[in-house]
Symmetry: D2
Subunit: 356 residues, 4 copies
């Protein structure tokens, strides 16, 4: 398997399976001199951690981040930053009965066909636990972006048929579904719990916004800012779509309308245009449902059975910090790449100003 | 500017501006022994070429593909394949009045801010003409995918409020909007022309389907099949969103519904699952409209004026072959990468079978 | 800092400092199904480990390899293989006096100037300890190359003025300097110890040979087999040169002589030619000597002092497994890339044959 | 074939065969605002061009550089710079008799085995003509490095047994062998011509020096400055070795001697240390000799015959600008990457200063 590294200059490599001894991220290319502590990373991991509310899996994982390299006396050294997270609550026995069956809607069968064998302990590398390493890397990226005055905020915009109507993104952290609209949040919670009681799961839409981007980030043609963000965000398990600015609704507008401020999502021609970056993400219902379903086996036979184990009835609340993390990783890379765009001009006074 | 190369093993590098002497693509990593002629490429370029119908810009570009390397006696040699397309109908004078102004909804200002200067002749590198090189590369990728029995077909699914209701994708080539539904196509044409008469432009939705993919393409975690496709497709100018399978609508389904066949879009856990690959693409209205708009200048002053020149009132008909091309480039790369997944097993009997 | 990842399809990322908590390697792109155990890796680490003989540093590091991901039930899964090595014998206090001074011949000053700060505990990331992670990755690569019937062997060819005269490469493991010639080895040992007694260090030449390569590995033009090997080998600290086949001596031959078998070093036009791969590596004398030398400080002042600590008086014996490891990493990547060269032919029957 | 692109941020892609219609280089990642004209490139191409003296092949190639993109009104725009060179003096008929035979010491057989077919017209992609595109790219890199005050100079240091004794590198352009020592140069010329009269060819050693590098370029661990230079230089056909600073001779020095200024070759721990960059390159005798030799055919049969055609009896004079070009390409990339090393400090005042 290739594809466990992301980025050009600010590069993230992750490893680890849901039921192996540990997960980790190696962040290469972070400039030296950045203040960084394990607490900076822990803060973000705690937002993704299981067991935060009744809406999330009861798997108990403290998800403690340990920095194993790249930081000395509280600052990054320029060496790769390795963050390690021990898996403490492995319960492979949960997978006893159905371990050898391919769970519907999961990557079990595609992995088996691709690799000819499979770590069947709860998804192995394709488990959502893999995203803990992304969040760790994102925390470092966020710290770097802080030098540029950039803030990233994602939130739940809708769950099933219930959509947020009002509220600032920052409000999202105050409720369990991470919705900016407290009233809608209450309805969403009830909806998720009702569906969970039916042994079902639900999907939703997550939105993300980044403020403070200067004009000029993104590389035209293949590595447009929105293209690389789409890559990063769709690489998160469970994400099935993305749209920037007016997105699919832009097809209903006339050109002169769509040219007006507020429709671009902060990107024109693949380069940040000075407006806030804004995109929306389609999140599918968790494929792990406790309802009886038809499972295929390695030999093609079908079995009717039901999953056991510990699963979130809705991915949205915990995917929010993962979307932020991937956004941060992309922006950090473009921040550094942006320093290479022009001759004869120090690219980033802003940065210098902010650091001291 | 970085980001003019795409792919890991099957790698495409493009160059060229709308009003420079030539555009080109260098395709590296194509296996040797593949039958390839300029005609294979020309066929696809002709589908993207301006002037095909009343719906497209009257700029007259024959867009003749010349292969300058990598093919010998009708077969690829393993050396990089360079395809060159001369720009014949440059009319930089069209840009006289407004050349120095930033066209609304275009990349003019973002490029200027990023690079400190700008080729103002019709968009330069950010012009839609850049996609001719993508189509050339995609034609080579399609030829390679033919060995695997893969067919890619994109089409216009909706234009403004008018959506296709029925019809096979293959029908799309028989009408000027490239819609699979001939009846809807007629309405769409009328709609585009009506809006063009109002000096406006319109957007739409393009869909794409690939048949014949084996199970097992795509690299898990960061380089998921859908993630890389999203990168490739959103790197096409004018695209503002993408969704796979049930996409945004998945948020309205329960888990057990969404787990059923037909919802995945052909990708589970980032790996092809044997169903047809299917995704939908949001295309914004052409930002070049002839209506009077407010233009900003390099010094920040605003001017009310109107564009002249030659522009498509709707991007969809000509973006269809570009979406196919980028899809082909991505799949060709995964086809080759897929050969590296397992020890001890020749990956692709299929391919061998088909070649002879 | 970028540049902690090496390879295209078989990719190695390393992290860790000499006096941090741990070092590690993440090996991405290893095909699934390869039998692999911690013992496979330990065997190679033991060859690089300090304290093997009187010739090596007395720092006591067991260098125990723990596999944290990518292996399940004794076989690789296709997921990234993370190997972690805990640093057990950190003695940063050794660096007390001279910690802030730039050691002559070391990377201390260049790192400080590049990054503006420095982990002064024994070289930090630029310490030779970093190579433990390379050896771990190389062990995985060697295991993969075993499927192709490839054996890699490096050895000490000369130390100071003393050169091997005869002996098979395989003999090298039987003496402390890892020289293929037992008689010369005894002289070399005495020479190293004599120089060490003078508080000095010595350099040498290491040779490396790989048998069993099929014709056709290496990518022409920029990624020639010898070019990438040179990259890999010169990336090892202390290496100052490399030559393939007759190397610098080729300048003394006529064309028709040099065209004959035995001069190419196994590479023609950047592609393996079926002869054994052979190259020689210049290893500089360890820069850490206990003689009094002039040290520069961060402020430019000069101090006359002497190093303390634990250092090898000659790098050759322990660099041998590192050279093998980097060779293996390069060959494993080309083995996988080679699968992509042709259409319509399973590239590697050999491999399939060997696996069962 | 992969491997036709080199570099991370400043990236060069080349294409073209010796007897196809054209060769070219696409230079991506060059910052905008750099003054650049075709003449800047032509100047370097003229140094590599055949037919400069009695020592070089009489093939008549004007090697005219045409810039097809990326430059507007005399400055780079940030878009990829495409340079195209038309092949004017193709004489594939020269290869009639021996076309199907594998020339000894050439890549003919290795390419054939790798790809299963071969462009037999004079080496195709493996011909030395490929280096014209490298020189074009190097000219752009040199222009960029000029902003940093960096000058690169390569020269012939020895031919067969004749070595330069004195003379400044800059003198090298005044004689046909490009040797810094005019007296030795005359001997070298006579030697080459005597060997050519015997239908033989000769090898030599080329040295290269770069002045003006700031401390801090190069990425530690895998992408050390010297490691990447070794990669770049060994990727040039005919190069069989490289050594930095005292190189292989360092094995004869004691540590404290080798730690003194003048031995490092300008690189410590993979990072430029402020001394001039200096390395030496082993160049093998041209494999194309007119003597009768044994040629193998595709079917393994052996034929005794002699080459015809037009070949240089010694590669050194014309490889000198190619070595400079590859050095420039590497340094340009590290110049840009170096901008990303630290937080909070504009990396390159020097550059800014020089530009105006």
């Amino acid at each position: 398997m290739s594809g466990n590294t992301f980025g050009t200059v600010f590069r993230v490599t992750t490893y680890g399976e849901s039921h192996g001894p540990a997960l980790g991220a190696v962040i290469d290319g972070c400039p030296s001199g950045l203040p960084l502590s394990a607490a900076d990373i822990q803060k973000e991991l705690d937002r993704r951690r299981p067991g935060q509310s009744a809406l999330t899996t009861p798997r108990k994982e403290p998800d403690v981040a340990v920095i194993e390299s790249g930081v000395f006396e509280g600052r990054t050294t320029g060496a790769p930053i390795a963050v390690r997270i021990v898996n403490e609550n492995q319960r492979p026995s949960d997978y006893g009965d159905t371990a050898r069956l391919f769970r519907p809607g999961h990557a079990d069968r595609t992995w088996f066909e691709k690799y000819g064998l499979r770590d069947y302990r709860g998804g192995g590398r394709s488990s959502g636990r893999e995203t803990a390493a992304r969040v760790a890397a994102g925390a470092v990226a966020k710290k770097l972006l802080g030098l540029y005055g950039i803030r990233i905020c994602a939130w739940t915009e809708s769950i099933g048929p219930i959509a947020a109507k009002s509220g600032a993104p920052e409000n999202a952290e105050s409720n369990a579904v991470r919705c900016r609209d407290a009233e809608a949040a209450a309805e969403m919670e009830a909806y998720i719990q009702a569906k969970a009681a039916e042994k079902e799961s639900v999907g939703g839409v997550v939105a993300c916004r980044a403020d403070g981007l200067p004009v000029g980030w993104g590389e035209p043609v293949f590595d447009k800012l929105d293209a690389v963000l789409a890559h990063a965000v769709l690489s998160v398990g469970g994400v099935k779509g993305i749209e920037f600015g007016s997105g699919f609704a832009a097809s209903l507008l006339c050109g002169s309308e769509n040219n007006r401020p507020g429709h671009s999502g902060g990107v024109l021609g693949g380069i940040s245009d000075g407006e806030p970056l804004f995109f929306r993400v389609a999140v599918k219902p968790t494929p792990s449902v406790f309802k009886t379903q038809i499972f295929r086996g390695e030999d093609g036979t079908e079995t009717e059975t039901a999953l056991r184990g510990r699963h979130d009835p809705c991915l949205c609340p915990r995917i929010v910090p993962v979307i932020e993390a991937m956004t941060a990783v992309v922006l950090a890379d473009f921040a550094l790449l942006g320093r290479c765009s022009r001759t004869g001009k120090p690219a980033l006074q802003t940065e210098e100003k902010t650091l001291k």
